[in-house]
Amino acid sequence: MYDEKKLEQIRTSFTDWDENKVGKQLSKHPERKETFTTGSDKKVERLYTPIDISEMDYERDLGYPGEYPYTRGVQPTMYRGRFWTMRQYAGFATAEESNKRYKYLLDQGQTGLSVAFDLPTQIGYDSDHGLSEGEVGKVGVAIDSLRDMEILFDGIPLDKVSTSMTINAPASVLLAMYIAVAEKQGVSPDKLRGTIQNDILKEYIARGTYIFPVEESMRLITNIFEYCSKEVPKWNTISISGYHIREAGSTAAQEVAFTLADGIAYVDAAIKAGLDVDDFAPRLSFFFNAHNDLLEEVSKYRAARRLWARIMKERFGAKKEKSLQLKFHTQTAGSTLTAQQPDNNIVRVAIQTLAAVLGGTQSLHTNSRDEALALPTEDSVRIALRTQQIVAHESGVTETVDPLAGSFYIESLTNDIEKEAMDYIEKIDNLGGAPKAIEKGFIQKEIQNSAYKYQMQVEEQERIVVGVNKFRIEETEKKELLKVDPHVELLQKKKIENLKSTRDNDKVQEALEVLKAKAETDENLMPFIIDAVKEYATLGEVCGVLREVFGEYEQSVIL
């Protein structure tokens, strides 16, 4: 981007500045630390100049928003056309209460729904299962059958909202229920908009809510790709996630690398199942973390977009524009929230929001200040939403597209992260792909090492966490926290009892038997899952059948 003569001049003047001006300053006033690093422990130089990005070519490496390689954004007008979707993850206890919270949020200006399910639901167990004891309704809503789903979306027009469901192992079943509810509302599947997370590989890596073994899980995922490409074309069938990988302790480059490696595995699986890459790739979406180091995060998103575009084009030969575009949802980093002086978290979330927006996210969830302690109160959630609204309407960062482009530091860091991620992906390729790398524990080990290093840095005060290892106070002020009604478990159990006595149990049995038979073949299971849920088979019953046929994933732990 600069001519060689100019660069030479800059090299000379830089050296001059560095040795003299800086040298003099240092002898009077040393810098605060020996080494300066990003949030991911990457070395940061004192100053960045055109020299650091001298190899760059504007058209080749940056291009224009909405054009390959999409470094500057997937859309030509970005937030000038439309703000990102403000989508707050919510859902707790019962479907009735969650329904109320959704209506509240929609009233307050939220533009999309995001459903959080409780752990038993995420792992395919009904509320009356032994392992569900103590867990029902705690981290999200308990959905035991289509009946609960109907209550969850009661009065919410599914043709008017876009719903994101954070569900992975039993995604097929919850999606089937959503389609069934819509049908009852008179809304045909082709009108439905939304996302299911449906990313099982990251469950094995970092999140832990898996059910079936890898191969069988991939089968369900490709079934969903295929079914939706025909019947539910507006639905985003997977949200390939880096958020949890980062939360588990990875660096920014690892977040990109492992997420994209998972993405490659899904594309491989779908192609192997006979799908054409351009048929499903446009509906792939991603989910990233928004961490503290604002500049590193912005660079990360840009690197991810460029790298994915290149991978889709060069590795998979995708032709459609939409196949090359990395669209993503972001959540601010839960692991950065402190239990100490919780109001500080509002500030952290604001910085992380800026990072996501300057990075070009398509939708955003902002955490509430009290989430290191419990699920958020209504007040805390409102502040979190307002944070997004203030950045959107008052900060000015949305008035032009990709404003930080051209910054010597940002472009240099974007290049570095892309390179580091590519190296990791190559390593993973050599191990046989993401599923094999997971089996061998390679990805998990990398993450654990980063996590441990981080913890030691905090304990040695090499990394400051305000309120935790510096600027502490005597914590006396108690905050109002949300309490989950312990009777939820009892309520859900009663509901199940009631359901089982009022539904047509013969039809349920029949549907489950058909599903079992089909699971043993190669057929797409979606239609049969839909049939079963329509008869009010419970989630546990449907997953139980699949557990029988597929077996369960056995954890391998590498410490």
């Binding site: 061998k440 524990g441 056995e554 954890q555 391998s556 732990v557 410490l559």
Partner: protein, 311 residues
Amino acid sequence: MNIEERLLQGDKRACARLISLLENNDQKAVDIIKRQYHKTGNAYVIGVTGSPGSGKSTLTDRLTKELRAEGKKVGILAVDPTSPFSGGAILGDRIRMSDLALDKDVFIRSMGTRGYLGGISKATWGAVKALDIYGCDYIFIETVGVGQSEVDIVKMADTVLMVMIPNMGDDIQAIKAGIMEIADVFAINKSDLDGADKTKLEIEMNLDLNEKSDYRPPVEKVSAIKNEDIDTLLQKVRDHENYLKTTGKLHERRRRNLKVEIVQLVEEELLKLIMQKALEGDLLEELSHQVEKRIQDPYTAKERIISLIRE
């Protein structure tokens, strides 16, 4: 009731406590073993060895389940390396045996090597006896598994089961020397991977070259995670057990191992005595200073220490 009484009644806690005392070199524990030693010799000991990542724990879990189906009582000692720097260890083999945790006739104990080289820990010897007295029919010892330093498992086990995975490539060449001699049964785990047949062939070829007496170690392909061919593998282990028992070789083998154990115990005790003397009044410190300054040589230093024992 004390530990000994409870142990004889099949109390898990007592057995667990006894093993801890043995690990901590507690004389009370040794006395219990002494008194109950006549009860040992019933348990059949299977050493499970192989490289890290070969699936030893999962395989042990599956073999145990097969034995449980026959009503046998099983003990499992899972050994993992102790960090030479901190003296601590992460013992994670239980994870792959989660189901067995609640089985009343299965006892699983994780042990750190605690500085002992050879793939097992010094207390493993004692732990095996404890499990024997407790009433186990079979005892699995899962070693650390780093290849050539596995040799100690031979001194403890009746059958040594070597677990390998396909495509070890150059690794096979490197560890071939040690392995071929000590393994009684070979299991090629993760048999669904490419190269399983090739690996089996390689091992068979090596066995051809190392014709060892009238027993030829079988090479079985299995998939622990898929629970395939576990029964066949167990049968091969049983075959070896029967071979040893019917030919009288079991007694021979155990006598040889016990001889080694006795020598080991004597060596340990003598070393302790010598070191106690040598450490009295900083003698060792003094000597090492002198040797470093070339006032004395190491051989004369040795003679001085030894002479103290003779006194």
